[in-house]
Symmetry: C3
Subunit: 398 residues, 3 copies
């Protein structure tokens, strides 16, 4: 209980009033205090759940899930977060269709939102589309609320777009904060965000982009490594550079996986498709050119196959700081000899880090719940105090 009260007190010292009634799209659109508030609320919600104190703030209400591609884990994380707060999930199954004409987006957004408090969207398959779509939905429901069509202003949570993956990267960072024992202990740590070989192509860039866009705020030495031609979105690299200017630390790039792993404290080897190729794929899909898509796929797989040495092996791990860098992955990973013949990471490495990897994933439902909480609750400190006061049991079994 002492722990919870301290966390609440810490939350009370932050300035995050602009989060109320606002969406969460990109971490670099949020201030340092706003990010800290998300971490504090995530920790409070978890601590309260561990103490069997109910954190339901909704007696009824819907959390809309809008997934434009399949995702088990994120669906479960979002559903867990909604359930924790008392929202019921209602899924909008739109299929994989490209963004529809303007009017239809505005109409659909309002039609599903009459009793929606939160909307979680995942739209990461097409460069230049996902983030745009989310903003369109947000504008639509803001207008609906202003016009009196909607009684409440549903707030949006980005469950992954083409640019950023805030729920994942915030969970990753909170994991690092807990692992290293505090935000201050992250200063000066070397984090290697590297590409890794995968037998499948077309994995989204939002994780490496989200990582360099966020971790560069923590005074860390962040190094982005990938083979030539596997560049991420230039705009996000600019965000990373601006971050280190402001916060200290560094942001460098290299085409050598070894160089990135050299002395690293944290490694994040993960596959992605080249930004330029993903842009091309978007266009081909828009034209319905399935032959072109097949050709592009073949091309990308062949290019990938030139870089099978980009694997997080024991040899690579031995290069890190005392050979004991923390290995991160958003999961699921392509594990050599387990899920594929040659993959992102060797089996023995993955096995050794299995427990912290699962714990890394375990932060996500709380991060999502925290983002939702801060967007709906005007006075979180008073709300948490009231929940502690009420002391309703989450589980009433004796």
């Amino acid at each position: 209980m002492e722990k919870i009260k301290n966390l609440i007190a810490g939350l009370g010292e932050l300035n995050f009033e602009n989060m109320y009634n606002d969406d969460f799209f990109l971490t670099w659109d949020k201030t340092d205090d706003e990010l800290k508030a998300v971490f504090a609320v995530a920790d409070i919600l978890r601590a309260m759940r561990e103490e069997n104190i109910s954190t339901k703030i909704f007696d009824s209400g819907l959390g809309i899930s809008l997934f434009r591609d399949n995702s088990t884990r994120t669906r479960f994380s979002f559903a867990s977060a909604c359930n924790l707060l008392g929202l019921e999930v209602q899924d909008l199954d739109e299929g994989k269709s490209q963004v529809a004409h303007g009017e239809t987006v505005r109409e659909t957004a309002n039609m599903i939102s009459f009793m929606a408090d939160v909307i979680g969207i995942r739209d990461d398959m097409f460069i230049g589309k996902g983030h745009t779509y989310m903003q369109e939905v947000s504008k639509a429901v803001q207008a609906g609320h202003a016009e009196g069509v909607l009684e409440q202003r549903p707030t949006l949570v980005n469950l992954q777009c083409d640019i950023d993956h805030p729920t994942q990267c915030m969970a990753d960072l909170l994991h690092l904060v807990h692992y290293f024992g505090g935000v201050e202990n992250l200063k000066g740590k070397k984090l290697a965000m590297t590409w890794a070989y995968s037998p499948s192509y077309g994995k989204p860039l939002s994780v490496p982009q989200g990582v360099i866009g966020l971790m560069t705020r923590m005074g860390m030495e962040v190094i982005l490594a990938h083979p030539e031609g596997y560049d991420v979105l230039p705009e996000v690299e600019e965000v990373a550079k601006a971050n280190v200017e402001k916060n200290g630390g560094s942001f460098t790039k290299t085409n050598s996986m070894k160089e990135a792993f050299e002395g690293a404290d944290i490694v994040y080897p993960k596959s992605w498709a080249p930004f330029a190729a993903m842009e091309k794929r978007t266009d081909l899909y828009a034209q319905g050119d399935s032959d072109g898509i097949k050709a592009l796929e073949k091309e990308l797989l062949e290019e990938n196959a030139k870089h099978k040495d980009w694997e997080c092996t024991e040899e690579m791990m031995a290069l890190t700081n005392e050979g004991k860098a923390l290995y991160l992955h958003c999961l699921p990973a392509d594990i050599t000899d387990v899920s594929c013949t040659a993959g992102e990471v060797a089996k023995t490495v993955f096995d050794r880090y299995r427990e912290p990897l699962y714990k890394q994933a375990g932060f996500k439902p709380y991060i999502i719940a925290a983002m939702m909480f801060l967007s709906k609750v005007k006075d979180p400190v008073a709300t948490f105090d009231a929940l502690l006061e009420a002391d309703k049991k989450r589980f009433a079994g004796k």
Copy 2:
């Protein structure tokens, strides 16, 4: 709060006791007081939600959704209504199969209902099947309850059948009541329920049928307009005629869209397939005659294409009363140059009425919740008083 208490007092003056433990199939099976009770409860639920007062009357219980064709909006409306009252939605996914043999319907209905308080069914694709199916399900669960198989008698809500679309039309009417400032102000208003061109065929007749079956009770001048051959169910026209005999107003028909729009106060241009064609389609489906269905489709699209001038254009709107008739649509509409090349309505007309159109749609979750409420609650006035007394917050955030 004053507003809510007045609404509850108004509810108390109506006679609707037969709604308790009964289903809601067709509006013309309900008395005037029963329809007024639905409107009153819908308004009360909305007012309470606006005041952040929880309207949950179930601590647990299921609302079964049985959709025999795809529907996003109605699914969301039903889920919203269930959530508002405290029921959890459980969906029965039967596919698009035709009604199964008698015994299987009775068995399925009982097997899903052990903890079901409400069943919402949408079955509108096949003339002569949907309404029949719903009645079969109702008989099955009534028998189950009488036999002690089911502890409660699940009540049914018609979410659209081949005959009527009560949740839509009741929402439309409540929208009119609010828009024109009261039921009395509807008397003498001219409402044009007209056909409109659509590039797709096979849209259900339940909306025009539901509209003429309901609006003719309000003392309005209702005119049904469509090209020759696009007749609706004759039985429903008889209901409309009987209604105006009893309530005043009028019910006329015309093959001229212009004549219908002339001086209209309310216009409802919407496409539908000819009743006779839909009957034919039902038979072809039953025989599994996919070639016949394709041929019929081709035929219907060609016939539709002869009437592209049946579009709600600015010119048409200019014919209405001061050119300012209220434009209604159940959505989604086929909007010329937005969702199709030529459609039911011109873009500029649709855009001008966008806000009231969204508000029209916003009544549906409350209408559904009201129908459910009145079927489950014996004493709604006492129940609402208790909810006000308890004053539980829907959203407990501070």
Copy 3:
């Protein structure tokens, strides 16, 4: 209320402490007291629901449903059980894929369980796989809990595996207990678990196996009847034999449906595929041999067709004790002249037993809820007393 208090008192006299934080896989892994506890809790939950007393013990929390083949009824039963206790169902849609590599099962199990209190799994299609898979999932979440990855230890309920169908057979037995007026009245009753003809092949063996594995504990004369070659799992026959050694009664086998029906008090004619054929099918699926599967299917249908006389006809029923044996089926049954030309049971027989058949099915949600309750609640008696004390209405309508 008196009835409820007596049931709770009865529960208090049993020893079932090992059920806390444990899974429910096979009935023969549970002691007599543990099975009695499930029946007592099922009866208490039902009685409380009949008295409109809420039995919610979770304010939030998820019940994960993992169905590896389609099932409407079991989905509804599981959802009803979760809803009764306050858990929200979250479905993991894995498709019909074979069990994945070890690491992936462990990872998936943990990734879905961060806020899961219960996991219900149905995996009965492949001999040697389902039960194994469930145990793997259980080990995975136990390890996750021990490692601090999961805050709670999700407990598993077997919603049907290749070996047993505990929720079905426990519901069947509770139905018998209520029908015959007490456990003692089952002693000496003859129960015929017989094969029956069905036009479809590949029905799981878990029902006949579950029945002989459970009913042989009740001092009944259990007879298993099937054509030659339709043997069930030998290990389960050993369980049955061991049961009657301990509890009295008998377990015999015959290839004559008549002999089984002769003087029976209870008959359970139901189709299943030969154990050996199901094993073969598992291998063919693993090899992706679709031609082999088609050939096997043809073979099995031809073999089935030799035994069309294995039908529960009026003549068969006339052989039973006073011709009035209780007819059982897990539903849906293949009813001659209703769902098929020739099936498991004649129409008139099925019709005559329709009501008790529906009541038999109605026990399942309560059995599942009871299994869940006993796995999560350390002190059920105190918990029930508290629920009675709180006296929260399930339905608050007046």
